[in-house]
């Protein structure tokens, strides 16, 4: 169960090697979380993540999960929920792709869309159904500021996150009053292995900062969380910037 501050005792991470997810898990283990399920494609990295969290004192299990195989989601996640209540599901998988290459090779672009959007739609709906029958729980969805406004530099990734973001907002409305809390997290540029080759954007943040914001959001039962918070204002301005002008801005 969650405690008075929204901290879960059990956590299911979809995308078990995500740096943001692991930073969040570490933070929650330091508070109340005792059981963690790391779902992802079987790999040494997944096992290593599990070992790292185990060392912090949590009871950690790994489970084979593939975002690109939505047919399997019901079975795979069903098994996890059958083991006991899950107080929080963190949907953290996603790929950045390579914008220039993906524009040349449409099948790669489709893979980004299928992972970030289609796979997330399926996994989130399965998780939401299970949380609803529990009568409680948080579904935390990692979106991105990139989904807020199309930008030349990353619109393939951005459009997939835009789809996910809109979907998660709607899901949150659909689940309002069911005891299930859906929280959309929109980080800006996060310094991680995913962005190691990219030039850093303004207001860059870290996985740890995102984890802190998630913990605060859980306590406040927030519906949307921006990391850092200043991005809410900046993106609000950017959202209303005319396209002709935006094209010429160095963003």
């Amino acid at each position: 169960m969650k405690d008075a501050f929204g901290i879960p005792q059990s956590l299911l991470v979809l995308g078990g090697t995500s740096e943001i997810a692991l930073a969040t898990a570490r933070r929650l283990i330091a508070r109340r979380t005792r059981t963690v399920w790391l779902a992802g494609r079987p790999s040494p990295a997944l096992e290593q993540s599990a070992a790292e969290l185990r060392a912090l004192g949590a009871d950690v299990h790994t489970v084979a999960f593939d975002a690109l195989d939505p047919e399997s989601h019901e079975t795979v996640l069903g098994k996890v929920f059958a083991e006991g209540d899950i107080d929080m599901v963190l949907l953290a998988f996603g790929i950045l792709g390579d914008q220039a290459r993906d524009e040349r090779e449409p099948l790669n672009a489709v893979r980004v869309a299928q992972t970030n959007y289609t796979g997330a739609v399926s996994a989130a709906l399965v998780a939401a159904g299970a949380l609803q029958s529990q009568g409680h729980g948080s579904l935390v969805v990692l979106s991105s500021v990139a989904g807020e406004r199309a930008r030349r530099a990353n619109f393939i990734y951005g459009s997939s996150k835009a789809g996910l973001d809109t979907f998660a907002q709607g899901l949150g409305d659909a689940l309002h009053g069911t005891g299930v809390h859906v929280m959309v997290v929109r980080p800006g540029f996060v310094r991680s292995k995913m962005t190691a080759d990219l030039e850093e954007a303004p207001l860059a943040t870290t996985p740890e900062a995102v984890a802190t914001a998630i913990e605060l959001g859980l306590r406040r039962r927030s519906e949307t969380v921006w990391v850092p918070g200043a991005l809410r204002l900046l993106m609000s301005a950017l959202r209303h910037t005319p396209r002709g002008l935006l094209r010429r801005l160095p963003v």
Binding site: A4, F5, R31, R32, Q134, H136, G177, G179, R220
Partner: protein, 451 residues
């Protein structure tokens, strides 16, 4: 019978969960409801005054017992009442006070049911002389997981597991309670100020036998030499001769007329209770109290239930809700109490409700909260940054000193500390496994702490 799936939370309004709320109107309906509980089980609920998650059951059934609220029999000579578990203490007082009887134990609110009072084994300002509620329960009828109704007498394991058992042994349907005789509906109250915590503790300890009711309000925002300064209010039921002849009070000595103010609006923002605001309130409250005043006559409701005058007062804590932290430590652990008060005062918790009491002998309930010694209860806005970690540290200190936190108030205890605080929890688990092998009775509290 009426049933609806709704979000349910405790009085603190933290961590709500959804449940099917069923309101049985007869014992048969209650039996049907218990037998029909699905895989996520059920839990009885009274008026929802437990602060935490003791009367919620995520994804399962919550049995709202307030529909079963008949008073079956009153023996006006010996002061014994047989009533349904859904009857509130408010109703009992309304009915019984004119007959010269008062409830034996009352917490800070009258709006709790008899079933809830037994399930949480509530205590009041008279614990040092009267013990907790269960001491005055002669017997009860319990609807267990198999759908059978049992009469449970005192000095049986089931009785001791049920009193303080947080509703997890079954649904209490009726109770027979021994009442307390009174001559009037007034209380003679002595008020005095204590300049710091030690002063307050010394004064409380010195006069255990002088007063039936005894409590100290503590200003937890006072710092330095004034840390723990307090206002002590102590008293006893006023005898008839204390009322002046010819007054209305003397003509109707047993009248019960609680005042009632309008409720705060349903939606208030977080952060209304700022540190500064509460600090000013505390300063005012301390200064307002007389240095020493004796024999003041107060209405029962004013003395025992000041907050009941404001319905839904928990709303002032905003959407984030509130956490009540109540712990008890035994005699000889005064240093722990002092340390906690010092830390709360240093942490600047905006708490305007902090109450210090002394506990007398414990009652046999396995999970009953009181232990002979001291108890401090404080309300804190749940939105206060860093509160979770801060209270965890206090828990550790309290557990090390052999103390415990109150389960009826809890919404956040670390499960690892439970066994240290409640040494009989394993017996409780074993009895539950015996009388409820399928785990029909379960609550969010039970899941959170693996009760």
């Amino acid at each position: 019978m009426p049933a609806d799936t709704v979000a349910v939370s405790g009085w603190g309004r933290t961590a709500p969960t959804n449940a099917l709320v069923i309101r049985p109107r007869t014992y048969e309906e209650a039996v049907t409801a218990v037998r029909g509980c699905g895989v996520r089980g059920g839990i009885p609920r009274g008026l929802g005054r437990a602060y935490g998650d003791a009367a919620q059951n995520a994804g399962g059934t919550v049995l709202d017992m307030t529909g079963l609220d008949r008073i079956h029999a009153i023996d006006a000579d010996s002061g014994i009442v047989l009533c349904d578990a859904g009857v509130s203490l408010h109703r009992l007082i309304e009915v019984l006070l004119p007959l010269g009887w008062f409830v034996p134990v009352t917490p800070g609110t009258r709006h709790v049911t008899v079933g809830g009072a037994i399930g949480a084994d509530i205590h009041g300002r008279n614990h040092h002389v009267a013990g907790s509620f269960s001491r005055h329960v002669l017997s009860l009828e319990l609807l267990t997981a198999d759908g059978e109704i049992h009469t449970v007498g005192r000095d049986t394991p089931l009785f001791d597991a049920t009193t303080g058992g947080m509703g997890l042994t079954g649904v209490i349907l009726t109770a027979t309670i021994q009442l307390q005789p009174v001559e009037t509906s007034l209380v003679t109250v002595d008020t005095e100020r204590a300049r710091d915590l030690d002063d307050a503790m010394a004064r409380l300890a010195a006069a255990d036998d002088h007063y039936r009711y005894s409590v100290a309000w503590i200003d937890l925002l006072a710092r330095g030499a004034a840390t723990g300064r307090a206002v002590l209010t102590r008293g006893d039921h006023a005898p008839l001769e204390a009322l002046r002849k010819g007054t209305r009070a003397r003509r109707e000595p047993l009248a019960f007329r609680p005042a009632r103010l309008p409720a705060p609006p349903a939606f208030l923002p977080d952060g209304l209770l700022s540190h500064r605001g509460v600090s000013w309130f505390n300063e005012f409250w301390y200064r307002k109290a007389p240095r020493a005043r004796t024999g003041e006559l107060q209405k029962l409701a004013t003395f025992f239930h000041p907050l009941d005058g404001v319905p839904h007062w928990n709303r002032i804590y905003g959407r984030g809700g509130l956490v009540q932290y109540q712990f008890a430590v035994g005699h000889g652990q005064e240093e722990t109490l002092r340390r906690v008060v010092r830390r709360v005062s240093e942490h600047r918790c905006p708490s305007f409700l902090a109450v210090l009491k002394r506990f007398g002998d414990a009652d046999p309930g396995w999970l009953s909260f009181p232990v002979p010694g001291w108890t401090l209860a404080l309300d804190i806005p749940a939105a206060l940054p860093g509160l979770g970690a801060f209270l965890d540290a206090l828990d550790q200190d309290v557990a090390t000193a052999g103390g415990r936190v109150c389960l009826a108030k809890d919404a956040r205890l670390r499960p690892e500390l439970l066994a240290a605080m409640y040494p009989r929890v394993d017996e409780f688990r074993a009895l539950r496994a015996e009388v409820d092998p399928r785990g029909v009775f379960v609550s969010d509290l039970a899941r959170r702490l693996s009760l």
